[in-house]
């Protein structure tokens, strides 16, 4: 286990019945990096995320958080670990019966004790951090556009000042301008707040723009983890196809690299 790994996955096995998704999967997320996770549909990217988050029990292997085995933590420690995570689910997963501000306040209410007024101010600050206008704070998720909903979900993920942010396809369903703006928002926030980010994405432009390293999920394990340039020289056929197919080439050309 490398010293600077914030989260390490070792020997993970995931299976649904006879259908094996992950076999002997290893992955390290280093402190302060933005790690992209790519893989074909059905290779278990979201399942891997859920396993790291503890939403799903691994069928074998372990997840370590700062060297502590997640499964071996006490309830209180696990609670404390959870408060250091921010998660942006694929569809935002905002609570539809609460306004955006109340959504952001939900984790604050659960984890910390502070006066109501301060809580509202901090929620307002997080909404601003996520790049939403103040008027959006008192609207319900159903009244927001897709891009605004993602930002609101990001504000909620940031509510407890997490050390590590998990993003499940943050730019899916956004227009190219909105996606680029969201990418740069994540990059700026991760630099300003010193975040570690694990990002599942299919967006080649996002990979180019903000990821320090990219992990490729193929053949039931992490086939390669490397900075993008190194990865593109990897001879694995799926990786070649992924990065050198027509869309991959276009994204590369767009980045001038």
């Amino acid at each position: 286990m490398t010293q600077d790994a914030l989260i390490s996955v070792r020997g993970l096995r995931t299976a649904f019945g006879p259908h094996v998704i992950h076999e002997n999967l290893d992955l390290d997320i280093r402190r302060g990096e933005i790690l992209g996770l790519v893989g074909g549909s059905g290779t278990g990217k979201t399942v891997l995320l859920n396993t790291i988050l503890g939403l799903k029990q691994p069928d074998g292997g372990d997840v370590f958080f700062e060297g502590h085995r997640y499964g071996g933590l006490s309830r209180a420690d696990r609670h404390r670990v959870n408060s250091r995570w921010g998660v942006l689910f694929q569809n935002g997963a905002l609570f539809t019966s609460l306004t955006v501000r109340e959504n952001v306040m939900a984790p604050l209410r659960e984890h910390v004790s502070m006066p109501q007024e301060l809580m509202e101010e901090i929620a307002g600050m997080k909404i601003g951090l996520a790049g939403l206008s103040p008027e959006a704070a008192d609207r319900y998720p159903s009244e927001l556009s897709g891009g605004m909903r993602k930002r609101a979900a990001l504000a909620r993920a940031l509510a407890l000042d997490p050390d590590i942010l998990f993003l499940d396809e943050p730019t899916a369903g956004l227009d190219p301008i909105g996606a680029a703006a969201f990418d740069s928002l994540i990059l700026e926030l991760s630099q300003a707040l010193g975040l570690t980010v694990l990002m599942i994405t299919h967006d080649l432009d996002s990979l180019h723009a903000i990821c320090d390293r990219v992990a490729v999920l193929a053949d039931k394990k992490v086939e390669a983890v490397a900075p993008l340039e190194a990865l593109m020289r990897n001879p694995h056929p799926w990786i070649q196809e992924y990065f050198h197919g027509p869309r991959g080439r276009a994204a590369t050309a767009g980045q001038g690299g």
Partner: protein, 384 residues
Amino acid sequence: MRGKALEAVDSAGVVVRQDGAKTVVELFGDWTVETIGASDGALRRVEETTAPGDIVIDLTRLGRIDTAGAFIIGRVTRRCGEPDGDFHFIGDHPTARRLIEEVRARTTVCADEPPSTFGFGKALGRIGAGLEAMFSEILDTLGFLGRTMMTGFSSLFVPSRLRLTPTIWAMEEVGVNAMPIIATLSFFIGAVVAYMGANLLQGLGFSVFTVELVGIAVLREFGVLITAIMLAGRSDSAFTAQIGAMKMQQEVDAMRVLGLDPFEVLVLPRVIACTLMAPLLTFGAMIAGIFGGMLVAWSAQDISPSLFITRFHEQLDWSHFLVGMSKAPVFGLVVAIIGCRQGMQVGGDVESLGRRVTASVVQSIFAVIVLEALFAMLYLELGI
């Protein structure tokens, strides 16, 4: 140092002291989202009572800090023209200054929520709004009824447009599957009526009149009422939930785009099924209710089933049965219309689905009881 370790964090502390003209706010401990709650009041007081230019923040003994801590520290100097000027800070901290500036740059002050007012005027306003909403609901429901009728008539001329499979499916859902529970309920209602009659009539020596009591009560009112209330609680809520869920998933929009009329595909089959099945269910409920009354009469008053049935035939007019049956399709229609309309009203969120299902059940039971009263008045005037 940013971030929280697995071990417990130090609590945040603040000491305010005067240094000449300056007010020095000395911070110590960790200022993170978990710890700052207790220091909020002290910092607010400093902000409110001190001239903004005279505030100096001492970062020397500050521990860890996160954005929430940076926000609350930065708030102290926000009224100053130069909130992040060097004269505001003494002491070194690796990240605090940068974080405070970052947070300030990205924070947009949210408008306060409008204060909610209470009082007599507000109460009157709510009553008025409620009444208005009720009238518009009634009007919309009538509109929906008209729209469904039009769809029904046009299907009459082009019978191939009638969706047979969903109609049969809805008939099974609404009718066949509801029969056991409606029969059981009606059985008990009939039994209860017979017991009440047994107590009252036996004292007067007319215990044989139990037959008439059970017969009239179950045939005229209870059979159809139990059926309608069960339809409202069981099928009407299901209609609202089914159509509402489809509305939420944009399936209804997809239908419209594909050239399918949701009234034809979703509403009409359910309305037809409910209207047709309600009389059949009512008939079943009547039989079960009379059977319940007969068993009680037999066990509690020694009125044998053969005597019960003979007297039933002799004393009770067919009109009681017809009165009960005549109400059934009306109740079925009303329940189905309300259920489908509320389903079509569901918006994009889960909460509106819950609200609509509740409204649908409440409205349909309300409508059934009101119509029941109107029918009673009508038949009384007609002398049936």
